[in-house]
Amino acid sequence: MTKRKPLDDSSDWTFNKLEQYQSEIERVAQHYRLDTYTNQIEVITAEQMMDAYAGVGMPIGYNHWTFGKRFIQTEQTYKRGQMGLAYEIVINSDPCIAYLMEENTMAMQALVMAHACYGHNSFFKGNYLFKSWTDASSIIDYLLFAKKYIADCENKHGIDEVEACLDACHALMNHGVDRYKRPQKISMEAELKRQEERETYLQSQVNMLWRIGADNETEGKKIKATFPTEPQENILYFIEKNAPLLKPWQRELVRIVRKISQYFYPQKQTQVMNEGWACFWHYTILNHLYDEGLVTDTFMLEFLHNHTNVVAQLDYNSRYYSGINPYALGFNMFMDIRRICENPSEEDKLWFPEIAGSNWLDTVHFAMENFKDESFISQFLSPKLMRDFKLFHLHDDSDKNYIEVGAIHNQSGYQQIRTMLSDQYNLSNLEANIQIFHADVSGDRSLTLRYIPHQKISLADSKDEVLKHLYYLWKFDVKLLQENKYGVDEIIAQCPEPDELAKKKATI
């Protein structure tokens, strides 16, 4: 490679220098076929970064006390020096918005640009989950619509009403995701128009449903039609469409929270991959620039220092251990894929016959586009990496008074560790599996849900509180069942509480 005159490596950044580095990074990114949305790089101050934190990744957030709480928390921990702020935040939108902090040095800004504007950005554009679940071009418009709509609701119905409704929706936010259906893409104007039509239409549908129930009763037919016909896991969607007494604007709030939950769902599923991909590329791109002679040793030392901190993995017995670092796992997996392609060992050829010796660039792109954390790990975690990380598996059964070491990083354990680690990133194992399986449309209108435990793990105590929120939305009795060990359904939570019910009946 021909050596070029290096870029200015003094640590203060200017917009001029940012643009120079950016255009070089862009050139290299294109060389590696990174396909990205247009970048919109915004330089912000630390205070603004805390604002961005509080918005949990939404560049335009509606007003709610929980964001205030998050802001105060961030501010407090930051002021006490317990936490540094992230160097960047990047938003899955088109154009892709990346926030750079003013305090960063030039080397850090370059790292962040390569990481966020080309790493994350290309991931947002290329990964299949993001392609089918989110629409980057409409999200900003949709958030604007949501903010305005909620502000209007506050004016019309009062802050307290809106807050109570949003609280209830937030409690069920994790259960507002469509796992199977694909969302349609829709822009702001279309959304506005549809929203009005939907309000009247939805209400009429709800009325229809409940009227049918009433008719059946009067005709005295004893048809026990179950509703819903199949168990529903998207609780918020079910509420939005079927809750009998919700006002139209409340339905719209449910929908907004549901939509936002859906927008973030792919990010939850691809944490390791997304961060790994971004780290892989900031490392590869900046090293490429170094090989070309465009960045100096001074620059590289600072960059490597930060990079190493980010991708460090602490051991299980470290005081500061807090789980497997997604940056470390993801980065090393992508580096490992490249190694398997370029220098496969005999073991790799056995484990990865398809990719060993293939074009590494094609392979990493293929891996980025077609997997999520769970499948990515079960597909690409190599024995070498398990040895490097010294992974071991603990089997903890609360019925026994000891914990068993299930598998370690050896020949007989590789498969099991890989499966276990993959399961550890399987959201359907991590999130409580709760489904609506009966709404008594022809009777007392009560709603029955069922909790299906994963590996006998019971539901945490917060269930009673959440059920109150669900009751707020449904407005009739809500019951949560779980099958006990004899195969009989047991009520594990209900709202209102049974003694309250008894009291109510007594007074009638």
């Binding site: 915004e42 918005g55 069920l172 609360s398 068993e404």
Partner: protein
């Protein structure tokens, strides 16, 4: 394609609304914390904000999530001693770590700490004095109009040279010049058009041309003679006087410093005075504080001496009231000043003096003051001064008495004194 945007100058307080929402939601808890904190606070510390503690349990955002128990399979890095099949004793409190994988990652390390945050001075004072009001403010508002403020009131044609408004004046000048020359310019235009026609003509037309040129010259001269600026154009900024309710207040702090008042009692009094002072700053811009201490004789002193110097001897409360009346007549005209008074005592007074105190209060002080409060700091039964004052308090709105036993009573008593009187209004 990449765009750089510098957002550093945008407002940084995007979260202010959400922060206010948060405070609004937890107002009752925060208020509780504030009223507890006010008594713990250092007496000289009046300008800082306050740390507010709310138990985390109250702030919960509940979601369905998996609890403890059951079978858990986890993978850990850094194996240094285990082989498969090893049994490890279960470490205590292991569940917390297990939950780290789900929920809010940043929260998991903190456990059940209380949620502590700082509210600003303004927020603090707002919460501290919420629902309180200065009594009798409404009634006297109008007859207290003694201050004037100069405000802009448009433009006028005459005035002092220093008030000339250049822009307005030049606007006038332009308008006048346009108006006065419009006719001549129109003529000039036609003449010039004729001249160009003549010049394009093949014939010489010297005479006609000459005539036109002179006419044009005359017109131009006339136009140029219209003055650039005329005294007629000048516009002056006009000011008017606007009546303002006075925003000056004086606060009389009267304290008994006889031998029976110990430092603890004085401290209680001081806290009370500070609350009163803070409260007054919310309504009035400038506040004078006059400290009067007394035993058998009264004396005006500075703050430090007022609170910290020791005296002994008997007590004649009326001496302080007399001094207050004297100072009022000399320095604080009730037309200009809003007068507030607060008297603190342990209740001891020379028995014969108490009726005199009541008389002074009724005849000379209360007619001139907005509000006078008497607080008695003692653990004992009330004595003559309280009884005399109690009669007065029954009949006069602007006078009230309260009894403080311990530090914890200060804030509730203060609230009782200044409680917004909704019942009266209704």
């Amino acid at each position: 394609m990449t765009n750089f945007i510098d957002r550093r100058l945008n407002s940084k307080n995007k979260s202010t609304v959400n922060r206010q929402r948060f405070i609004r939601r937890y107002k009752s808890q925060i208020k509780q914390a504030v009223s507890e904190a006010v008594n713990k606070r250092g007496v000289t510390d009046i300008t800082s904000g306050e740390n507010i503690t709310i138990t985390k349990k109250d702030l919960n955002e509940p979601v369905f999530h998996q609890g403890s128990g059951g079978i858990k399979d986890r993978v850990y890095p850094g194996n240094d001693q285990f082989t498969s099949g090893d049994h490890i004793a279960r470490p205590p409190q292991q569940q917390e770590q297990e939950q780290g994988g789900q929920g809010d990652a940043s929260d998991s390390g903190e456990g059940d700490d209380d949620f502590v945050f700082t509210i600003s001075k303004d927020e603090y004072l707002h919460l501290l004095f919420e629902d309180l009001e200065l009594p009798n403010l409404e009634k006297n508002k109008l007859d207290k109009v003694t201050n004037y403020k100069t405000v802009r009131a448009g433009y006028c044609a005459e005035g002092a040279a220093s008030n000339i408004d250049i822009v307005k004046s030049l606007q006038g000048s332009i308008a006048r010049r346009i108006a006065m020359t419009a006719d001549k310019r129109r003529k000039l235009k036609t003449l010039e058009a004729e001249l160009t026609l003549l010049e394009q003509d093949r014939h010489d037309n010297t005479l006609a041309k000459h005539k036109l040129i002179t006419a044009i010259g005359n017109l131009k001269e006339k136009i140029s003679k219209v003055p650039f600026i005329d005294s007629f154009d000048l516009r002056y900024r006009h000011y008017a006087k606007q009546a303002l309710p006075t925003s000056k207040a004086v606060m009389f702090c009267i304290m008994d410093v006889s031998g029976s008042m110990d430092q603890a009692t004085k401290d209680i009094a001081k806290r009370f005075y500070i609350l009163l002072y803070l409260f007054l700053t919310r309504t009035y811009k400038t506040i004078d504080v006059v400290y009067i201490r007394h035993h058998t004789q009264a004396k005006e002193v500075d703050e430090h001496e007022f609170f910290y110097s020791q005296e002994t001897g008997g007590t004649i409360a009326s001496s302080a009231l007399e001094l207050m009346i004297e100072i009022m007549t000399q320095r604080y005209n009730e037309k200009e000043w809003n007068v507030y008074g607060a008297q603190a005592s342990d209740g001891d007074n020379w028995a014969d003096d108490s009726p005199h105190c009541q008389q002074l209060m009724r005849e000379s002080i209360l007619p001139k003051t907005r509000y006078f409060s008497y607080i008695e700091i003692s653990q004992r039964a009330h004595q003559s001064l309280w009884q005399q004052y109690a009669q007065l308090a029954d009949t006069d709105d602007a006078f009230s008495i309260e009894h403080i036993k311990t530090v914890a009573d200060i804030y509730p008593v203060f609230r009782a004194l200044f409680k917004r009187k909704k019942v009266q209004a209704a």
